[in-house]
Symmetry: D2
Subunit: 231 residues, 4 copies
């Protein structure tokens, strides 16, 4: 389990998500993590997991794994594959890569067996609560209509975050809750933490930033500050 | 375009398909390729593409790519991703990772633009002919019921190979035709070439072999010999 | 909401699931329902919904609906379509037609708006509990490995039923819980009710029976008897 | 095989696609078919097939069937299901319900065995040619970006139709070629036939028309006239 506050950078598959650019953002994240004292997790494309895991000392998770075992599954990636490459866990059910509920359950169970961390995504509070029954380590609420919009869910729809925290906590006291979708600024990050979650998922705000390190640094400081006030 | 005869090793996602084992098989393949003078292509899991492409000097192709562009597609791999990692092309429509016909068309077109090689798979001669209209560089006939069976299609159903060559050639004179499914021995490889194809796809016969290099060497020699007789 | 005990007959798409045979089984079910005094629900293929709803006076539900709205969705069936044809509800997430968790949530919500009943299926107790958070009217536990096996879950794995009831009731006091998979005899039905569920889902045991009415009658009487003892 | 010119009305799942409205449009189509002397084929939602097939004497085809056999396939419709309900065939691979190429091949083969007609859809000329290798009875070219746009492909992109006819005829002399996507007026229909196809697929232009019969009548007359000029 990772210590909050947490910033997860979902690399997605932008033109900055690969090769030297991927590595440069990872190094910036590693520096910010150390300087500010905050957990930063990277979710690069599968082709970049090993390079990043070898070169930076912050946790790497996969963006997705397939609900298959080792074997004759051409073109699929079982959890073992990303672990072997150096990932510490994986995202499950991102809105751009939804899974069936039985697959979500199976993958969370498999992650426990392989000692991998899981970050499950949900689009609405009810689904977040339903998935939290399956005990993922982290759960992120991401209204799909705000993903990539630049409009932060914490600003535009704070009630969704509040409702998610409340509904999830009715059935699961332990899972770490994160806020995603449209997180663009330090202010958005602070708001997400003030509303009761332990951190954020960001993507384009960092991956498409002119100065990714600067943006990340501001977000990290805001997260730490908001987190300190809360406690 | 690769020079025949061709052996494609589909790593799939066996426990030998990753890390040191993946690299060791790749090195063996590189040696056999040079010693015997034959094209050997490796199709590792996406997490292993970069390591293999960096360490061996024979072509690497991806087992699958997703029909998406660069952008907000969490958990997907566009063709650009595998090219960036060092792949020279990708498999399309393997029986364990089928695609829709419009996706097959789109990916072949995109591969041309990115200067990547395509190897499309088909389960029956009619589908091979249909796909060959879309001009993949290579096309493999793989009856799914024989994949992983240890029973070579070239032995058990030679008429399927003959019919595939005939039907594909009616509409496409150029695409390289390969034989897959159940190829287990040097004899199976020779038979595949005698029946009119330019080489084979193998998977478990190498990936699960006690001595992968020895098996591959025998297959490579048989391919070169059968190929010489044909010409 | 339907009054327990409940027997749901999933017609699936056997050769007996259509036309006159479908109607004959529906009429038998209607008779048994009245004679024995038990709720029997029929889930025929979509092509048969209207005929059955017109000809028998017991509830018809669809085997599946697509998570789409009315509009340009060729080849899909929105909930409105099956309601229009006379269905009172639909099955969601049957193991032979799994859905994503966000789709399950969306369809249950839509069903409420359209005044339709939902019967959600789950393969393991944890998934049953997760789905029950979304408030379907009924939830059925069906271990896929026993579906169509002739081996009743209530006999072979009674602990799965007990665990399902316990886990679902922790988070949902109201949803009706049913037992499915392998239910073949009156004894299996009685056992399912004794273990704490409100009835059963059956398929091949009725659809492939030599005398469907006789089998159904025995099951219905066993259900009523077991139900009476429990209360 | 149906005699050209042909108008296929794809009902999709609009609010007019069900019940009395569905039947009323079907009756209008039947009348126009007889009065103008033209083949009109109806593709209603699966729940409406039997009612329409019973009540009107023009061909009904399904919008989609699943590539499964009779058996334990809850929520799927095998070809046998729609035949039983009165359909004379089915659409395959509509852009709103794409299939894998192996499934397209399997369904066309199965349709021959069941004496059912197939209408396969394609998004680009190359895919139309590829599918035509598999010998569907009819093939429709429908650029997805124009579907439902009200901008007829025959007007906006006539070169796509010409190229489709040319590419399909290189490999298949017999299959009937239709034009779809955006067909809104009698003029669009005439243009589609002048460009070398045997008719059209329409959807919203009829299903959302204030006076469906009037619109259909104009289209039918234009089709017959354009067809007569061509021969």
């Amino acid at each position: 389990m990772f210590k909050p506050p947490i910033i997860v950078i979902n690399y997605k598959v932008y033109n900055t998500s690969f090769g030297l650019s991927a590595l440069s953002i990872a190094r910036a994240a590693e520096e910010v993590s150390k300087e500010v004292g905050i957990t930063i997790i990277l979710a690069p494309p599968s082709t970049e997991i090993r390079t990043l895991a070898t070169n930076v000392n912050i946790p790497i998770i996969a963006q997705h794994v397939d609900p298959v075992e080792l074997g004759a599954y051409t073109g699929h990636l079982p959890p073992e594959a990303v672990k072997e490459a150096g990932a510490k866990g994986f995202i499950i059910n991102h809105s751009e890569r939804r899974l069936r509920i039985d697959e979500v359950a199976k993958l969370i169970k498999r992650a426990y067996e392989l000692d991998l961390t899981t970050l499950a995504c949900a689009d609405v509070p009810e689904v977040a609560a339903a998935i939290s029954i399956l005990n993922p380590d982290m759960i992120a609420i991401e209204p799909p209509e705000l993903i990539g919009s630049g409009i932060a869910v914490s600003k535009a729809k704070p009630e969704i975050i509040v409702k998610t925290v409340s509904k999830v906590r009715e059935v699961n006291k332990k899972t770490t809750i994160l806020t995603g979708a449209g997180i663009s600024s330090a202010e958005d990050v602070a708001k997400a933490i003030e509303l009761g979650t332990s951190g954020v998922l960001v993507a384009s705000a960092i991956m498409k930033a002119k100065e990714p390190k600067k943006t990340l640094e501001e977000m990290a400081k805001a997260a730490v500050k908001a987190s300190a006030i809360k406690h």
